[in-house]
């Protein structure tokens, strides 16, 4: 067998393989609209414990429409119809999970409307937390207290609106904004540090730590000495996370200031050791 023959055979095998891939792609959801329509029909009444394989065409359609913006948009619209329609909680849960992959800014209003829903808020955040683009963060931010600008800054009072969510739902949104490292929510989170609900205050501190910008560090640094005893561990933990993020982003002097704050004698020993280790990391970075 000559090398030329081997080359021809290899080429033929490659072409055959590519042909096979194409066939499979067409057999997927996008190439089989009736199956996809049937799956969405099933989804309307779908409940946990039912045959999950009937929904597989939706998964296959997501894979098959990769790179096809128009097809993805159509799919997103169908999933959104499930989320906003009169369907079961399991169906909405399923649709949200799929929107996490195909969702765009078009989905944000519908998902934002679910944020106050005790049953679906979590799934809405599941999508919004990972969705690229400012719209998703803005929708979540809107539920937090809004800090108004001072009017005639010498005499005017800072205006702060109330959160639109309660308790655990608010904590969830705060956590999601932290996970997104949304710097625009720093002002609202700073207000929430003083919230009378300790869970909300802890979550706000944690999210400021995750955001990890110099402004977040300042908010935490200013609050730490005044924090009530029960909040101190959460605030110290948030400061450590914040300092780590600052150092990773090249803000060594801000990180050092936070570590110095935590190295004092009034902190528990493990916090002092962690802060000292942080200072060593700062020195090693110089």
């Amino acid at each position: 067998v000559t090398s030329k023959a081997i080359g021809i055979l290899t080429l033929a095998a490659g072409l055959a393989a590519l042909g096979g891939v194409n066939v499979f792609a067409e057999e997927g959801g996008a190439g089989d609209p009736p199956a996809l329509d049937k799956a969405f029909e099933t989804l309307q009444t779908y409940d946990w414990g039912a045959d999950r394989s009937l929904l597989n065409p939706i998964d296959e359609a997501i894979i098959a429409t990769h790179g096809d913006a128009a097809a993805r948009q159509a799919l997103e619209a169908k999933l959104l119809a499930v989320v906003t329609g009169e369907t079961t909680r399991a169906a909405k849960d399923f649709a949200c999970r799929k929107l996490r992959t195909v969702g765009t800014a078009d989905s944000v209003p519908a998902l934002a409307a679910l944020l106050p829903d005790e049953e679906l808020s979590h799934m809405a955040r599941f999508v919004l937390e990972r969705m690229p683009g400012e719209e998703a963060a803005a929708a979540m931010r809107k539920t937090l207290p809004q800090v108004g600008r001072r009017f005639l800054w010498v005499f005017g009072k800072r205006r702060v609106t109330q959160s639109t969510l309660d308790g655990d739902l608010e904590i969830g949104v705060i956590g999601s904004l932290g996970a997104r490292r949304d710097a625009k929510s720093i002002a609202s989170l700073t207000v929430l540090l003083a919230d009378e609900d300790a869970g909300v205050a802890c979550a706000a501190a944690g999210s400021l730590g995750l955001i990890g910008t110099p402004a977040a560090a300042k908010a935490l640094g200013d609050f730490a000495p005044t924090a009530i005893e029960s909040l101190k561990p959460a605030v110290a933990d948030a400061c450590l996370v914040c300092a780590e993020n600052l150092l990773a982003d090249g803000h060594a002097s801000d990180a050092r200031a936070l570590y110095e704050l935590l190295k004092t004698e009034d902190q528990p020993k493990h916090i002092q050791v962690a802060a000292t280790k942080g200072l060593l990391a700062v020195a090693a970075r110089k």
Binding site: K269, Q272, V273, T276, L279, L280, A283, A284, K286
Partner: protein, 174 residues
């Protein structure tokens, strides 16, 4: 001197100029100062943090020399910890400082020095280890034997431990 010689000389001068000669960066001095302070700290947790840094951070021979120079001024318990840390660090720059610890009064310190030689010792340490493996206290014998097992003579084809075993066999057969 021809032109190629001049060029070669320039090249080596530039290359040597680029090599770090000890703590070249401002942060290194600060880092070493902090580690030194932590190793000498009366607080056990802080000291352990410093020793962990000796083991894993602050690379370079100058840093190792500075850590090894701490040994004579520390208490026996901390000397043991630092010798172990220097052994784990694996930089043979610490060898002279560790060897000096073989002459101290505290048995645990001498044993730690013998242990550390497994990592930072050289072929020249073979006789001392062999002597301690034969005539030291229980703790020293165990440490010296462990090091002899691990120590590979540098620049020689046969590991020291193997040569020691061969010598012992010869002694036994004669």
């Amino acid at each position: 001197m021809n032109r190629s010689c001049v060029l070669a000389a320039c090249f080596w001068l530039m290359a040597l100029g680029g090599l770090p000669a000890g703590p070249a960066r401002a942060g290194d001095d600060e880092l070493l100062g902090m580690i030194v302070e932590l190793v000498g700290s009366p607080d056990a947790d802080m000291r352990l943090l410093g020793l962990q840094q000796v083991r894993e951070e602050a690379p370079g021979k100058a840093a190792t020399r500075r850590f090894a120079a701490l040994l004579p001024d520390l208490g026996p318990a901390v000397q043991v910890q630092l010798i172990d840390a220097l052994g784990d660090r694996g930089d043979d720059t610490a060898r002279p400082g560790v060897l000096a610890m073989l002459a101290v009064e505290t048995e645990a310190v001498r044993a730690a020095a013998l242990r550390a030689l497994a990592r930072i010792g050289t072929a020249d340490d073979g006789p001392a280890l062999a002597r301690m493996a034969a005539s030291g206290s229980d703790m020293e014998r165990e440490a010296a034997r462990g090091s002899l097992r691990r120590l590979r003579a540098r620049g020689r084809r046969t590991p020291w431990s193997k040569r020691w075993r061969m010598r012992m066999r010869r002694c036994g057969s004669s």
